[in-house]
Amino acid sequence: MFEYAPAPESRDIVDIRPSYGLFINGEWVEPQSEARHKTVNPATEEVLAEVAWAGEADVDRAVQAAAKAFPVWSAMPGAERAKYLFRIARLIQERARELAVLETLDNGKPIRESRDVDLPLVAAHFFYYAGWADKLAYAGFGPDPRPLGVAGQVIPWNFPLLMLAWKIAPALACGNTVVLKPAETTPLTALAFADICRQADLPPGVVNIVTGAGETGAALVNHPGVDKVAFTGSTEVGRLIARSLAGTRKKLTLELGGKAANIVFEDAPLDQAVEGVVNGIFFNQGHVCCAGSRLLVQESIAADLLEALKRRLGTMRLGDPLDKNTDIGAINSAEQLAKIRELSEAGEAEGAERWSPACPIPDRGYWFPPTVFTGVAQSHRIAREEIFGPVLSVLTFRTPAEAVEKANNTPYGLSAGVWTEKGSLMLWTASRLRAGVVWSNTFNRFDPTSPFGGYKESGYGREGGRHGLEGYLAL
């Protein structure tokens, strides 16, 4: 591997306060709850700030603020709502570098990704839905589609600001008001977004941010004043939410776990496929619900592909997420690291063969080397359970029918990949995969115009595109 001089992005651009309150009704307020939580940089374990963990009374206050703002916001002409969203998009662009550094500090993802993927997509998402706000009558949901009311939104830690954008942009465009709870380990960019709402002069109460953990989220989704619940996270929590909303009239959209198959046929362009496999599972340390965590490779090319894959992994750079050369950053939390370790140990115990490139691991922080398991059987836990880390399980197949059978042999159905030069085989495979997104000869592409969401236990509803409006409109 070439020696690279460190090229760290400066963190001086961010200004993190020692402690944060809640953002309710356009103001920073002190929580009634006394619980506080320290958010750390997972690459160094350094404490970045202390944030409030909102209790039921705090959530109630936020929901009431959103309910009070709803008549004003929903009655505002769509063109005016649009202009607020355009303002927000512009402010995000203006502060993109600051937000990217903040995201990398709080989440552990490489600056190359937060700068080149997360932030451009965040701004683009607000731009996209801004344009819908005054065109809803043309979206195919009737001549006068109405908003639902207060949206309670709970987001995960893997793409903190991007998930915020996926939730808030369509909700606001449709005329709803929002109470959003960011993940407990990555609250800082959501709190920075609160400041952007103030800079945009967004009417008070239209966006409220309450920080906290699972109990705060539960208080939010179960609050009787919430009309719509949107959740991105684990299938386990999604199930709990779906159950707790039974018998209510709350509209629910869920974007949950995945165990995507990335299918490589023997005629695939090998080098491109290897890049796609690497991007599929090692992008964002594998903290991606749609990660290509199961590589299904046709038996005839398995040896060649694995050799090329291992060679490529030998060039991956793991380390300081703020270094612009870094490919693989830190695991987001000690808890997540423990889960990845536990499942990887299960993989070995169940008989799969484990391999990682020689990869120095920093002394402090949470780290896991890129890992490949071969000889994986469909019954192994590492082939069935979502690891949510940089761990790839390799299985082989002989015929296209077997590939499809194995790919669909999972309760999940979020995404899948297909690699072949033959168009008819690609379309045949894509049409049989029970997954909401199929990437052919590419992987992990996202765009605000393109609907995203799962089949089966990966959840329901779509985010992005015209389809993403449906979850925020009364039909």
Binding site: A124, G140, T235, G238, R239, L240, A242, R243, L245, A246, G247, R249, L254, L256, P411, M426, A430, R434, A435, G436, V437, V438, W439, S440, N441, T442, R445, D447, T449, S450, P451, F452, G453, Y455, K456, E457, S458, G459, Y460, R462, G465, R466, H467, E470, L475
Partner: protein, 287 residues
């Protein structure tokens, strides 16, 4: 000479294109609104419900991959067969009591028309709901609707129009289904099964269970190989039970309507979209 004694029909279940009795041997008495005996209907068991789900699952690949044109033709064929049996349905509905011949005739006509309406949707819903998405990059990006899979349907009260109005939207898009017929008026549901069985509809696409909805619906709601559940005919308490059970494998749930449904009104497309997924396929563009 004495009058000829009529040959009465045994009303059974409809599973996988066949008409079995309940494996449990159970049946229940169906009466008219005046309390007159009409027939013994099968009272489906948990095993019957599971058999019906297995039949629906088996039928799913073939039905979901049939061309939209073919599915439309078959739905239209169901309408033709129903029209041909108009008199029989009118007789069965009036025998239930509470409805005159004229009104029963209107219900049957509306059911036929509803099937024709949905038949036409088969090859149009994809164009209405799908999209070619202008992503910011050199990619072809296409979203299209696909059926969710096996759908359980708790049919609404009433003999025929409501029943047809909940089955047609589920199957026209390529789902297969297990229907819990209206408990009080199951006989037209089984006669509808005879229509389905003679309409080139592949066995297992529609399976009809008669019996206690309060018993059968929770079995289907908790079944891990069912992908969606339409609770239109469930009372509020049953609907909550079923929705809770449905959360276990994240079934798509169509909740009971907030207000009573006018089955004669334009149904809209929500009954179809409730059990459709959106698949988005990406491919790079380049030379």
């Amino acid at each position: 000479m004495s009058e000829r004694l009529a040959v009465n029909k045994t009303y059974k279940l409809f599973i996988g294109g066949a008409f079995p009795r309940s494996e449990s041997g159970r049946s229940y008495v169906v009466t008219s609104s005046k309390g007159d005996f009409l027939a013994n209907a099968a009272r489906a068991s948990r095993k019957d419900a599971r058999d019906a789900v297995a039949a629906a699952r088996k039928a799913f690949p073939g039905w979901s991959r049939a061309t939209a044109y073919n599915r439309g033709q078959i739905l239209y064929r169901i309408a033709e067969m129903l029209e041909g049996r108009r008199a029989q349905f009118v007789a069965e509905i009036t025998a239930m009591g509470g409805v005159g011949v004229k009104q029963a005739g209107e219900m049957v006509d509306a059911a036929v028309d509803r099937l024709v309406w949905y038949a036409g949707w088969s090859d149009k819903i994809g164009a209405v709901l799908g999209s070619a998405n202008p992503v910011a990059g050199p990619y072809f990006n296409l979203s299209s609707p696909e059926p969710s899979g096996v759908v359980a349907v708790v049919a609404p009260q009433g003999p025929l129009l409501g029943l047809v109005s909940v089955i047609a939207p589920v199957i026209v898009t390529g789902n297969t289904c297990v229907v819990v017929a209206c408990e009080r008026a199951p006989l037209p549901a089984i006669t509808l099964a005879e229509v389905l069985a003679t309409s080139d509809l592949p066995g297992g696409v529609v399976n009809i269970l008669t019996g206690s909805a309060a018993e059968i619906a929770p079995w289907l709601a908790g079944h891990m190989d069912v992908n969606g559940i339409d609770l239109t005919g469930a009372d509020p308490e049953l609907a909550v039970t079923c929705e809770e059970l449905a959360a276990e494998n994240l079934k798509r749930v169509l909740r009971p309507p907030a207000a009573p449904v006018n089955w004669l009104a334009d149904p809209g497309i929500e009954r179809m979209t409730a059990f459709l997924e959106t698949k988005t396929v990406w491919h790079p563009i380049g030379v």
